[in-house]
Assembly symmetry: C2
Homo-oligomer: 284 residues x 2
């Protein structure tokens, strides 16, 4: 049971965590922190938070667990405000989709609190944003990746593991580097492709007509292009190297397939599509 | 009411049409034709077809409407078998995702029957294949594109329009060229991207680990990569020029975005993602 949970950045991810912990009776009090008072009031109205604060330093003084759920580009400034203002036994975690840069930020500014920082990333979400889109079942049966550092206290990792278990998630630990490589492949690259495709089509002269004939497959394929642009901008820049590596691999493979279509290389095309179908059917 | 409907190629698309027409009481008898007797027997067992035939020429002698629902690469040989063997007032349509090459095939081999051929394409489907995946509601509220030719008799177009209306679909007419350009953008390119992405990941050393951390967004994004490889191979080769044009546009846009990520051009990235989100939210 967490006595006081502070969620910095009360949106889909933080809100769904608060809801899940309340349903599981695993938290006494949730305090929401953010810059937009309207959103914070709404979080209290919805019963997702019990109270709110505009000031991080005020909000965290007696918090037991602090969940930082802001875009990864804003993590460092939040961490700076936590350092020196939290209880000596408080545990900090984050939910950022990139771990390398977030960990570097934490190392730079968290000071003595670094040993109680557990880097985390729930592999769950929808294309929607904001506390109004939050729901208690978001993490049910989903994976949360933790990337504890050498400095991280075992007790801190245990607290965050228990929190995610209470929210219904499965918790796995991997290295920071491995996390960023794997997520570049399965999440960051697909988002970049989806955003680019929709933008390519939107720039075409007859784009209204084009979207009119889009079917269910297109809607599924481009759903992630409705995700929050600022959040994904931050992710691309903060996981730049792994993402560029994946973009290079993908572009190379797409050039080969394009060449095969130009050359009407039937065998190449059929083999690639068959391999892909088999891989997806086996793994998804 | 169609007295005898012959469906050549009884899979997801043909099977769902037969089911929908039966539910709407808009057909008396459905005869299924195909090369795999097991599938045809299964269609009869499921009540999707009333009878089956292995021979196209036998099956079509007294059919009033013939729906050709085979991969687009196989259309020409089916059309050849229809020519000269159908009733003088029978109407032929197809469900191919490409219209240019299918129409060229029809012009080449249908002879006198060309005036009763109505090229068509239901913008509906799932990533599943086969008659067992068929369901009566597939076309409900979906669009069917018809691309009638100058030679097409008005009465033939009317028969096929009524058939799709009875199946719950909305029917629109566009030119052959326009269909192929629009579908290259909204359907053929996304399929190529999804197949390529899954294959890129499947080739990576740690691919099992990678797929393990794929979340809902990845599953949605790659769903279309589970589609029938032969069908999509045929579509790519039969709509080659429009697809290559879209691949060129997309590659150019992706190169620009890759450059922006390399250069950490924050403004470019944020603008592109924001434009894409706005376009998708407005149009999907």
């Amino acid at each position: 049971m967490i006595n006081k949970l502070c969620i910095v950045g009360m949106g889909l991810i933080g809100g769904s965590l608060a809801r899940a912990l309340k349903v599981a009776d695993a938290v006494n009090h949730v305090i929401a922190v953010g810059r937009d008072e309207t959103h914070l009031k709404r979080a209290v109205e919805l019963g997702v938070a019990d109270s709110y604060e505009m000031s991080i330093t005020h909000a965290v003084t007696d918090a037991d667990v602090i969940v930082v759920a802001v875009p990864v580009g804003s993590m460092k400034s939040v961490f700076s405000e936590l350092a020196g203002n939290i209880k000596s036994d408080a545990v900090i975690t984050d939910v950022g989709s990139v771990k390398g840069n977030v960990v570097r930020n934490a190392v730079e500014v968290l000071g003595d609190s670094l040993s109680r920082f557990v880097p985390g990333h729930p592999i769950a979400g929808t294309e929607k944003s904001g506390v109004e889109a939050s729901f208690a079942e978001l993490y049910s049966g989903q994976r949360v990746i933790l990337t504890p550092l050498e400095e991280t206290a075992a007790l801190a990792t245990q607290t965050i593991t228990q929190m995610w278990h209470a929210a219904g998630a499965e918790v796995v630990s991997v290295s920071v580097e491995h996390h960023d490589e794997v997520l570049a492949a399965t999440s960051h690259l697909p988002h970049v492709l989806a955003y680019t495709l929709v933008d390519t089509l939107a720039q075409m002269h007859e784009h209204r007509e084009i979207f009119k004939f889009a079917a269910g497959g297109f809607k599924d394929f481009t759903r992630i292009a409705s995700s929050d642009p600022k959040m994904w901008h931050d992710i691309c820049l903060n996981n730049r190297d792994s993402l560029l590596d994946m973009l290079t691999r993908f572009s190379s493979d797409m050039s080969k397939l394009t060449k095969a279509i130009e050359d009407e290389d039937s065998e190449f095309i059929l083999k690639l599509f068959t391999r892909a179908k088999t891989a997806r059917d086996q793994n998804c």
